[in-house]
Symmetry: C2
Subunit: 180 residues, 2 copies
């Protein structure tokens, strides 16, 4: 029997996703989100959730597009900052020293400095409660080599961690448990 600690948003690890959008004035904006990930293979789709008060929320609804950019460990400071500042009063690309590049596929900027970006179009929008979940078609993704993504560990502490040592090959280590 386990001990119940009540309803909480307690599930980890989370990815660290930096969302790129354009504002109504054409200004590129960023936010850091950890509540998201892949949700479908055909078509390839990602889901991200955010509060309605964020500038990114209104930007996505206006443009029906955004990018999902994966920072490497060398940009942990920038990703953390982008998650704390608000695009309503700050040019986060400028403050973080990051370079916006206009996507050729969707109406959103991606982060040139990060190793991997997904260019996405909005296809589904779900009001869950405090957060709106956006589901987006992924319309193409640049280079993935040597991404070195990192992790947000919520729960008792709030910290970023590198990816640790490989502990096993997936779709392999479990073969030993297959009934004979």
């Amino acid at each position: 029997m386990k001990k119940s600690i009540g309803p909480q948003t307690l599930l980890y690890p989370h990815p660290v996703l930096v969302i790129g959008t354009y504002g109504a004035d054409g200004r590129p904006n960023l936010m850091t989100a950890s509540w998201g990930g892949i949700c479908c293979s055909k078509p390839p789709c990602v889901a991200v959730s955010m509060r309605k008060a964020t500038l990114t929320h209104s930007n996505i609804r206006a443009n029906r597009a955004f990018t999902v950019n994966i920072p490497s460990v060398s940009h942990v400071k920038e990703a953390d900052y982008v998650g704390m500042a608000s695009g309503h009063d700050t040019d986060k690309f400028k403050a973080a020293g990051l370079t916006p590049v206009r996507s050729e596929k969707v109406n959103a900027p991606y982060v040139e400095d990060f190793p991997l970006s997904l260019e996405c179009k909005l296809i589904i929008e779900t009001e869950v409660g405090s957060h709106t979940q956006f589901i987006l078609d992924d319309k193409g993704q640049p280079l993935i080599e040597k991404v070195r993504p990192f992790i947000y560990a919520s729960g008792g502490n709030r910290s970023y961690h590198a990816i640790g040592d490989m502990i096993a090959e997936a779709f392999s280590v479990g073969q030993a448990l297959k009934p004979k």
Copy 2:
């Protein structure tokens, strides 16, 4: 300018989530899913996506409940196995040597052997394409200490990794970039 590699389900790292459900015959079943995570804070909700062909898909629709169990690194073999076998022809709890416990809060079994379990009720169901995304209210969560979750790294290789070294405190390291 980045190099485009076309639309793919390419976004990492993923959590490793083991979903517990009951079948129509009352038999407990498990599947391993990496496409999921928190999607709302009020109410606390998680989203998980899976193909319609899975037994877990029909079990969730029948019972409108499931558990999300987080394995520790010591159970990487069991989590991997549960992700490969099918509940249609296998008793995965038995084959993996795991212990099902009936949740007191929802009509689903949790994994006694894993350190953290979320007990969830289905509130939203979204057909995305090949996958259905289920969004669930989280109705309580047992002990989280010393969970030691691990990560599924998709992309070039398919491997499980431990959580690596802490690289920075979240909501702190980025303060240095705040405009003066």
